[in-house]
């Protein structure tokens, strides 16, 4: 018999905190984001995240500081210590800011970052701040009840929280992972991607600093992508009755919004807006480092994990696979921004774990709209790229391949140059310090001196190689000028003739007074110098002083400008001939075997080519064919 006077009550193990804090929050980046959102929801105008990686003197810590209103002891008890409770549900409709959180667990994200949390909070007008120290390890005891865990608190006075100021400082110790440069960088990126770049709240600033990594420190900002080829914007009317669209392609620009049909039920999607931006070719800098895919922002904040490249929520990658080799929609060239509001679309929300998406009815209707729009976009792209101007001719295709080679080398050389020259500086400084020390001690040791000289020589050679690679890779491929080619050829011959003179080599030329061309001047200079120097070296290796001769000629064909450089050196050996334009094919000692290969690449990138004719024992003629880039 049931006795209605007796009740059973649930209680919760202290371990629940671990389940919520550590396991529901996917990773550290997400934890930081949860805490940033908490600061925003509290009304803070600025939040600073300071990461101190571990050093020999100091243990690692993370400090998250906001200038929000802070909490009194009373509020702290009522709100913070009541797990799973959030006043934001009630606040949502009236607050000037629509709160981003609603689950009431964001506070436990600190556990994901470190084993200890020291929270200091102060309201404006109060003299003392409230300081509470959490040791999350205390919650790990599964046999203890949640309410049995005792958290010590005290009143403190802090110079950085003056009487009229307010705010909350979270100091997290006992960090659970090592904060490497890579981790700091990806966290900074995640924070940058947190806010909608097209529509960020103007009263909320985030700063992220990492001690010892000035390049990762400073205000976090994110520029919106630009120069998109396709721009599809849609919005659902506030009353949730109709869907409007404005769609611009490379060949047609729509200026006005027009109503379109949809199968989706719009009734709960009032006010939903979105834009899909697409680039026909790799967007590179235009994307401003944003992750590709379609992101969903709720009240300005990105919802996770919508649009993360690994989360194929729109199955965009599958679309691509089905049309392999003929993919009109390349997912990595699509950047989508969907804006929803918690007030209008309560069903579209994020989750903090990796378990998937909240598949609510609102969500399915939103997906419906997005699928229709991406399909329309795909159709438009397909139509556009089938137009003749996008169809590459064989020549254009090979030009583009060569261009991308130059681009790749350029990008690589930037990284290489800095990363190698920094340690080179250390090596050179330290070797110099050894030398200085020997001088100071008045020690003359030929062996050490020789070793130091070898180090110096090695460093110099690495440095020269870097300069060489950079010289070739530098310069903008698109910097096209109209210039006098005859003048450039003459100048190049002048530059090389002083070197020729010292080797007793004569340089003869047949160059017209003037011959105008439209192409990349910098590139032509570099290639000609390289070919002339090769000729000088070939002569030097085989001819005696006074016997060498180089002949440079510039002529014009119907479509081409032709520069020939003939030397009477030893010619190119048979076995090397097929490989002459391949990187690292060289017989020279101390050379890279790189110059000709790269010369060929950049000349081809501009629609020209280099050819050669060689006669063993008699000499070699290199012919550079240049075209007007507009021709």
């Amino acid at each position: 018999m049931a006795n209605s006077k007796e009740y059973l009550q649930f209680d919760v193990s202290a371990n629940l905190q671990k389940l919520v804090g550590e396991e529901l929050v996917t990773n550290e980046e997400m934890a930081v984001i949860e805490l940033v959102k908490n600061a925003y929801d509290s009304g803070a105008r600025s939040v600073t995240i300071a990461v101190q990686p571990e050093t020999a003197r100091e243990p690692a810590y993370i400090e998250i500081r906001d200038d929000g209103p802070g909490m009194s002891l009373e509020e702290f008890r009522r709100i913070f210590m009541f797990a799973g409770y959030s006043e934001r549900d009630e606040a949502a409709a009236t607050a000037t800011r629509v709160p981003t959180g609603e689950k009431g667990i964001g506070r436990f994200a600190a556990d994901r970052l470190g084993s200890k949390l020291e929270l200091t909070t102060k309201k404006s007008g109060e003299v003392d701040a409230l300081r509470v120290r959490f040791n999350w390890t205390a919650f790990r005891d599964k046999k203890k009840r949640f309410s049995e865990i005792k958290i010590p608190y005290e009143r403190v006075r802090r110079a950085d929280l003056a009487k009229e100021t307010s705010g909350t400082i979270l100091l997290i110790n006992g960090l659970r992972t090592i904060w490497s440069r890579a981790k700091a960088r990806s966290t900074r990126d995640s924070i940058a991607h947190l806010l909608n770049p097209f529509n960020r709240p103007d009263d909320f600033n985030i700063e992220f600093t990492v001690a010892g990594m000035p390049e990762l420190s400073g205000p976090v900002q994110q520029a919106p992508p630009e120069n998109q080829d396709f721009d599809l914007r849609f919005r659902v009317s506030e009353d949730g009755k109709s869907l409007y669209r404005r769609f611009s392609t490379p060949t047609s620009k729509e200026r006005d919004w027009s109503p379109i049909t949809t199968k989706a039920n719009l009734s709960r999607l009032g006010g939903l807006r979105g834009k899909l931006l697409y680039y026909i070719s790799n967007p590179r800098k235009n994307a401003k480092g944003l992750p590709w895919g379609i992101q969903v922002y709720r009240d300005g904040f990105r919802l996770q994990p919508f649009g993360s490249p690994l989360e194929p929520w729109l199955r965009l990658t599958e679309k691509r696979a089905k049309r392999a080799g003929h993919a009109p929609l390349v997912p990595s060239r699509l950047f989508g921004f969907v804006e929803v509001s918690r007030l209008n679309q309560p069903g579209i929300r994020d989750i903090t774990s990796r378990q998937g998406l909240m598949e609510t009815e609102d969500f399915h209707q939103m997906i419906g709209i997005l699928k229709e729009q991406t399909d329309d976009l795909t159709k438009a792209i397909l139509e556009e790229i089938s137009k003749p101007r996008w169809r590459e001719t064989g020549r254009e295709q090979s030009i583009n391949i060569e261009r991308s080679k130059v681009q790749t080398l350029g990008d690589l050389s930037i990284g290489i140059s800095h990363e190698i020259r920094q340690p080179l500086q250390s090596i050179l400084s330290e070797a110099g310090a050894i030398e200085d020390r020997l001088d100071e001690l008045k020690i003359e040791d030929p062996q050490v001196r020789e070793s130091l000289a070898t180090i110096d020589d090695g460093v110099r050679r690495i440095d020269e190689t870097l300069t060489f690679i950079q010289e070739f890779a530098k310069g903008d491929l698109d910097s096209i000028e109209h210039f006098d080619l005859a003048e450039v050829v003459r100048k190049t011959c002048r530059i090389c003739s002083s070197q020729a003179k010292t080797q007793g080599i004569t340089v003869n030329t047949t160059i017209p007074d003037s011959q105008m061309v439209t192409t990349n001047k910098n590139m032509v200079e570099r290639v000609l110098i390289n070919i002339l120097r090769n000729g000088l070296e070939a002569i030097e290796q085989t001819r005696d002083y006074g016997e060498g001769e180089i002949f440079v000629r510039l002529v014009r064909d119907v479509t081409e400008h032709i520069v020939t450089v003939t030397d009477n050196g030893g010619g190119i050996p048979k076995e090397l001939r097929p490989k002459i334009f391949t990187t690292f094919a060289t017989k020279k000692t101390g050379g890279l075997g790189y110059g000709l290969s790269h010369s060929q690449t950049i000349i081809k990138a501009h629609g020209g080519k280099i050819a050669f004719e060689t006669n063993e024992g008699k000499g070699t003629t290199f012919t550079v064919h240049l075209r007007d880039v507009n021709g």
Binding site: E215, S417, H418, Q422, L424, G432, A433, E440
Partner: protein
């Protein structure tokens, strides 16, 4: 009299290397790893020479030099660059510098200890030059014809040559 030299680079090993190179000169050395620290040090100390890496985290050495020169207009400087931008040749860096600040010497990274010491000595040996006078000239150029301020560097060089 020992001079005061401010070394600025964002990498500790590089900074210590330069310090080791300059220690035998007996000058007072100040080390800064960020633009902020460099500017603070320049505020607090009578810095004679600043040795700056062109790339300094988010800022460029030129920007840092500009900020320091606002506080100490007569500071001399050595800009050291590892050329990390492929569109930035040494010449264009020089041009950039001419536009913005009057840098006295430009060195390529990696720089040998001896070269660095020689550079410092060269700058210090010109100490007798009437810098006040020169600073006035720079100021005049800036006010009357800002686009001509770049010429101040040239003027300075001629000035230095004249005074030996």
């Amino acid at each position: 009299m020992p001079a005061c030299i401010l070394l600025i680079d964002d990498e500790e090993n590089v900074l210590n290397g330069w310090a080791k190179a300059l220690r035998p000169t007996g000058h007072k050395l100040l080390l800064a790893r960020t633009a902020k620290a460099a500017i603070e040090l320049a505020d607090e100390n009578p810095v004679d020479i600043a040795v700056v890496d062109f790339i300094l985290g988010p800022d460029t050495g030129v920007e840092v030099l500009n900020a320091i020169r606002k506080r100490r207009p007569l500071i001399r400087s050595i800009l050291i660059s590892a050329q990390i931008d492929r569109n930035l040749s040494e010449e264009s860096v020089r041009a950039l510098i001419k536009d913005k600040v009057e840098v006295d010497l430009y060195l390529h990274k990696p720089v040998r200890n001896k070269e660095l010491r020689e550079a410092v000595n060269r700058l210090l040996s010109n100490k007798e030059v009437d810098w006040q006078d020169w600073a006035k000239k720079v100021q005049e150029a800036r006010e009357s014809k800002p686009e001509d301020a770049a010429d101040a560097a040239g003027r300075l060089k001629r000035h230095l040559k004249k005074s030996g």
